[in-house]
Amino acid sequence: MSEHLQSASALLLDPGGLGQQEISATLASLMARGVDYADLYFQYSRQEAWSMDEGVVKSGSFSIDQGVGARAVSGEKTGFAYSDEIVLPALEQAARAARTIARSGPDTGAVRIRQPQGETVRHYPPVDPSGSMQDDDKVALLKEVERVARKLDSRVRQVSVTLAGRQDVVLVARSDGLMVADVRPLVRINVGVIVEHNGRTEQGGAGGGARSDYRYLVEEGRATGYAEEAVRHALVNLESRAAPAGEMTVVLGPGWPGILLHEAIGHGLEGDFNRKGTSAFSGRIGERVASDLCTVVDDGTLAGRRGSLSVDDEGTPSQNTVLIEKGVLKGYMQDQMNARLMGMQPTGNGRRESYAHLPMPRMTNTCMYAGEQDPQEIIASVDRGLYAVNFGGGQVDITSGKFVFSASEAYLIEKGRVSFPVKGATLIGNGPEVLGRVSAVGNDMALDSGVGVCGKEGQSVPVGVGQPTMRIDGLTVGGVSV
């Protein structure tokens, strides 16, 4: 038994007296007549958060959640139930509820539990963040970050800092007998700053994180670096003027602006929407959907990244999935059910918020590969346009393909030069068209700093994005200045 499976079993199964025999029997009962596939998802989640405001560490919270989800899938039908008690009667009750989608009849027989063949490749260490640092040191870290932000500039009025860490131990047992475990650490720190000058108030923010322990945040001066970045961002906003309104050339900076890929392309390439034919990308594999400068992947295997997974929430190993290669649509992101129904292979994108939620195809780290151009040359090539380097959230209408993402730091480009900063504005475009308008891709591919959260059908999961500097010839900028 692998080390991960051993420790997950000890935490999740042993306390309730569950062993392979009980799991095998429950899976067999889930596999009633007509059920194609069933799984049990055991999860133990422990998280903490510390926050600082007005120079005081005002609050801290700690929480534990655990439970098991039971699912039975028959064709396009899914039955699902869960319990926050991991004991046999609760497991049996959840299994009975989940299998109500099946026709009545005898069970299909025994499920023989097996472990994955070969060693599962791990993309992060099985650490527990909360234990990686003394509580006193967590408090000291918050104070240090706050102090750095405050002393940078006298216009800083408020600094808030949040430090959060969690560990998820998951164990997936499937009707094909596979049983696999994963231990997932996740840490992040966020800094928010309010600045005021001559009666004008603005905000700035920065943060980062990883599938690692708290040491990641202090290494290489990351945490204090976010404090400096948050103050710089807020001070830029103090100088910002009204943003332009209308269609114009937009240059996106490297890293987090990759939220464009997540909204414009990523969601539309998730298997469920494409199986149902409700995505603007449905049935378009093999077609050109972007300029040939664009190669976009979803890569869950990047070491320690926020969106990475060693195995997904259905036990499928994570992988690097090519979505668009040199402008041509190559593939979708799949979970088990949608892959089977579409006659495709699962891609390790089956994810769920928790044991109390159903898995579905979700992104991991969605990235565009580097091109060859110097980013400065790309900016210099624009006569008048917007240079957007930092973003808030985004959203997409999968069916019409219309997507938005909101710039929180942007500049006007005039005659090839970055001139003054402009206020935040929402950018709106059409997913299947926007990458066709990419006319330059930089050689400066960067990943985001690791604070992304993606919401779909009410479920939140951590994700990452990345891209090089990119020029888009024509995107609507939603400013106020006509």
């Binding site: 929480s63 534990i64 009750q93 408020q158 938005v404």
Partner: protein
Amino acid sequence: MSRPESVDSLDGSLHSRLQDAAALALDHAGRMGACMSEVSVSQGQGLSVNVRNGEVETIEHHRDKSMDITVYFGHRSGNSSSSDLSENAIRESVRSAANIARHTEEDEFNGLADPGLLATDFPDLDLYHPWGISAASAIDIAAGCEAAALAHDARITNTEGAGLTTYEGLSLYANSHGFRGFVQGSRHSSSCVVIAGTGAEMQRDYWYDSRRSADDLMSPESIGRQAVDRTVRRIGARTVATGEYPVVYESTVASSLLSHLVAAISGSGLYRNASFLGGCLGRQVFARGIDIFESPHLARGIGSAGFDAEGVATRSNRIVSDGILDSYVLDSYTARKLGLQTTANAGGVHNLTLAGTAEGGADQIAGLMGRGILVTELIGFGVNTVTGDYSRGAFGYWVEGGQVQYPVQQFTVAGNLKEMFMGIQAVGSDIDPRGNIRTGSVLIENVTIAGD
């Protein structure tokens, strides 16, 4: 044995089990030396089904419980939560909260609500109407909803199906001042999502209803037909020229304006000087004639509550009267920080209502507008509560001569909320009753539309 295929009513012993759990937590906190403590315990259950193309797509059974405890050592606090309500887990949870409180710092404004403000009267707000529907019946209802939709208009090309959700729960808030208040409630929802058009012309829209009692829900057939009518009218959407226009926000999206107001007048932003409405108490922030108030005791209201998340008795707050800001939205902590008294809004507002100023719904209000855009959908998060700067993606209809002409898409609506609030010229009487924020359609004078 319970019947896993349907939702049983919450069992009668649940009150005493939650009460025992809360008492144990408060008692244990006291034993550990906490001078004050508070606890919320809840348990709920539900069922949700989705039917697509006449076939069951998902059947989900929900059953949740949780406890959240905060302990105070002097003015230091710690918080802990758990889904496990066993005695051992409760003690462990209290210990974790106490451990955190050892590391947090003194904050003199921290603590429970003042005892004199706690609710002593618990009106029956008629919030609990368990449905007890079986999965099979829920599937039949959803199937009927979708079938009505698919039969309603030949331009429907695809469906995401129809759903039915039922949920009921009991929660208890208790604190070391001796307060103990139960809330028992239910909520049932019915929805339908359909698609019209093909390829690059595809459009999707939906309709739903959500109520405390299943008796109040719109019929499944009308929900299906409403979803279809909203979807087919989107076909053939054009772009719009960049410029300044008046807009009408249909009631379904107008409520978002009030959520931005709530964010701006909530204590947590105000004491940090992080709100564009800081220092505006007693000043005009909306156009004359605009009234906004809370009605926490509406029978069957989605946001109804006899007490807030700290046990403070709720009351009918006037937030804005004739355009003047009358009240902030405060809990005990932020009220103390601002030198004010709590407005019983720990945990949020209760049935916040923007009073109508004109008869009729979106079409009548668009008639008042003459020429501009009727906005029926907003996407994205481009709202800055510090500055009031506003920029969101939208879908809607071009209006000319007071009449809807054609659908428009891929544009943004931008302005500053301060000016947008002052620019509200009319509020329709078509109050959307499905949520905690209630408003009719809203006419706003010039905003910037960015299109092509």
